[in-house]
């Protein structure tokens, strides 16, 4: 049954389903799903628009991501992030709920929200984003996500 669902999902993806979602991650590739989710979150925070999150997040992670985007929208603030590079620095968890930690290098700034103030300059940043995924509806979805503070970072090899 699951194979049938997966096949249907693959066909749907091949036919251009799932709106603007990135290429459908394979069952064996939660890293690709985490990367796609990171893209979706970056886009949502940049546009203060959470509509693209549903295909990548679920449960607690989806609600918290919506909260963050809604807070930005309420204040007219956006987080602009220009991606420079990403890599998976850790994969773990269980087969059912794999964990992927991405290290993301970017330049970012927060715009809007001020009383007509000019946008601040971009600042270089490095962050590690932990995503725990689950297989749902024929795809990997991020169930829990967290920005890791540096003391909790995974070493980069």
């Amino acid at each position: 049954m699951r194979a049938l669902v997966l096949a249907m999902v693959l066909v749907a993806a091949a036919c251009g389903g799932f709106g603007g979602a990135a290429a459908l991650p394979a069952r064996q590739d939660p890293v690709a799903a985490a990367l796609a989710a990171d893209d979706a979150l970056r886009l949502a925070l940049g546009r203060a628009d959470a509509s693209g999150l549903d295909g990548h997040f679920t449960g607690r992670a989806l609600l918290l991501a919506r909260l963050e985007v809604a807070q930005l929208a309420a204040r007219g603030v956006r987080r602009e992030e220009v991606l420079e590079g990403r890599r998976a620095v850790h994969t773990g968890g269980s087969e059912a709920t794999p964990e992927v930690v991405l290290e993301i290098r970017a330049h970012q700034r927060w715009t809007g929200g001020g009383a007509g103030a000019a946008p601040p300059p971009f600042a270089a940043t490095v962050r590690q984003w932990s995503a725990v995924l689950e297989w749902s509806g024929g795809r990997w979805l991020v169930r829990n996500a967290a920005e890791l503070p540096p003391p909790q970072w995974w070493p980069v090899t």
């Binding site: 607690r60 930005l72 204040r75 987080r79 009383a115």
Partner: protein, 422 residues
């Protein structure tokens, strides 16, 4: 704005139920600094709204809590915002600001603040708490709003990031020190050792993001960059095809993971120019036994004295020291009655009588005036150079020959005589 507020309200309903089990009794978020006195996370969405920021800019332009100071309470019609900072935010590691009255914002307005507004900059780690003062509903996290001596409640920002850990590393790695690791008459090779990253701040607030990569290339005579590449480790670059007088330079920069880079570290060198050949070694003399005349049909023995040996010359040209060696390689003997005969060394030097010399020759006929006997010693020349901090070479510079003065060697015919009759 209104659409955003409606959206936010809907989301909050879901999040509030989701976070019903959040640990409001938690005393700290993120780093090891505990919460300041009077900080009240109740009604906020901590820890979901805790975040950390890592950057290389001490002014932290990407501070998310910089345009978040809203006047959100219609009663009393304004909000007073307070901040509390730990760490190296004002040039002193391990500092603590106490609660600082940042601003009072009228209802419906928004205020701005960032570190630079106080003349501050972040080095290493800083932990920031931002709260609005609880004027109207004291007792949420302890009594104190209305004249009590207890700490007043500083209410964690609800619509922003009330607790942020900043990690700033604005210091590049140790500068790499490229050196000349090889040089030939047509090339210069450079390399350098690994370097460590240097962090920012000090003490408990020290933070180093970690080394990332080198950027390196070479130039020849100030020309365009060649072999330009980013590498995670030191590498070896060789400027080849050089001619005398060319100057090759390596350029190396080291970067950490936040893009802090060292200045352009350079080392330059030129290909080695061969030194002038040394003067010819003094020729030895030829000695022969029997002496002063040989006998036709019988071996004569030959040798050189003094015996040739390896000669070493030291020269300095500018900053380069040269060592030139002349090593005997072969001896060619000319006995004056035919084709020269070649010998290796040391056999070709012969041995002084009465030792048996490997250089032997017998004449077939007499010569009253003497056969001209001479020897030609061939030296192999090589050179080494000390440049920078190492020796390079040896490199061949051909051969050099020295011929002895010719010795006239008379040879007599032996006459048989009857000594006695038996």
């Amino acid at each position: 704005m209104r659409r955003g507020a409606v959206l936010l309200g809907g989301v909050l309903l879901g999040v509030t139920s989701l976070l019903a089990t959040r640990d409001v009794a938690a005393s700290s978020w993120g780093s090891s600094y505990g919460d300041p006195y009077g900080f009240c996370p109740l009604y906020s969405y901590l820890p979901a709204t805790y975040t950390s920021v890592v950057t290389n800019d001490p002014s932290v332009p990407n501070n998310p809590e910089r345009d978040t100071f809203w006047g959100i309470h219609a009663d009393p019609g304004y909000d007073t915002w307070y901040g509390f900072w730990y760490g190296d935010y004002a040039g002193r590691p391990g500092d603590a600001s106490g609660w600082v009255d940042m601003m009072t914002v009228p209802y419906g307005s928004v205020g701005h603040w960032n570190f630079g507004d106080y003349g501050w900059s972040v080095h290493g780690h800083v932990k920031q708490y931002v709260a609005y003062y609880n004027w109207t509903f004291g007792g949420s996290c302890g009594v104190g709003a209305y004249g009590s001596t207890d700490p007043p409640p500083y209410m964690a920002d609800v619509y922003g990031w009330p607790v942020v850990d900043f990690y700033v590393d604005s210091v590049p790695p140790d500068p790499p020190a490229p050196v000349i690791s090889g040089v030939t008459p047509a090339s210069v090779t450079f390399s350098w050792a690994p370097v460590s990253d240097r962090g920012d701040g000090s003490g408990a607030d020290y933070f180093a993001i970690g080394f990332d990569h080198f950027l390196s290339w070479i130039t020849v005579n100030g020309g365009p960059a060649q072999q330009y590449a980013a590498t995670p480790a030191p590498r070896t670059l060789t400027a080849a095809g050089l001619r005398a007088g060319d100057v090759a330079c390596v350029h190396v920069l080291a970067y950490d993971r936040l893009g802090n880079g060292t200045g352009d570290q350079q080392a330059c060198g030129s290909p080695l120019a061969p030194p002038a050949p040394p003067p010819p070694p003094p020729p030895p003399a030829v000695f022969i036994n029997p002496w002063p005349a040989g006998l036709a049909g019988l071996d004569s023995w030959y040798w050189l004295s003094p015996r040739p040996r390896t000669l070493t010359y030291v020269r300095a040209v500018g900053a380069t020291s040269y060592v030139i060696s002349a090593a005997p390689q072969a001896v060619t003997w000319s006995f004056g009655d035919g084709r020269p005969v070649g010998y290796g060394v040391p056999a070709g030097y012969g041995y002084a009588y009465p030792a048996v010399s490997p250089v032997a020759h017998s004449y077939q006929g007499q010569s009253a005036t003497g056969y001209p006997v001479s020897a030609t010693i061939t030296y192999a020349l090589s050179w080494m150079a000390f440049a920078g901090s190492a020796w390079f070479g040896p490199y061949s510079m051909g051969t050099e020959s020295v011929t002895t003065a010719a010795v006239a060697y008379p040879v007599r015919q032996a006459q048989p005589e009857i000594a006695s009759f038996g």
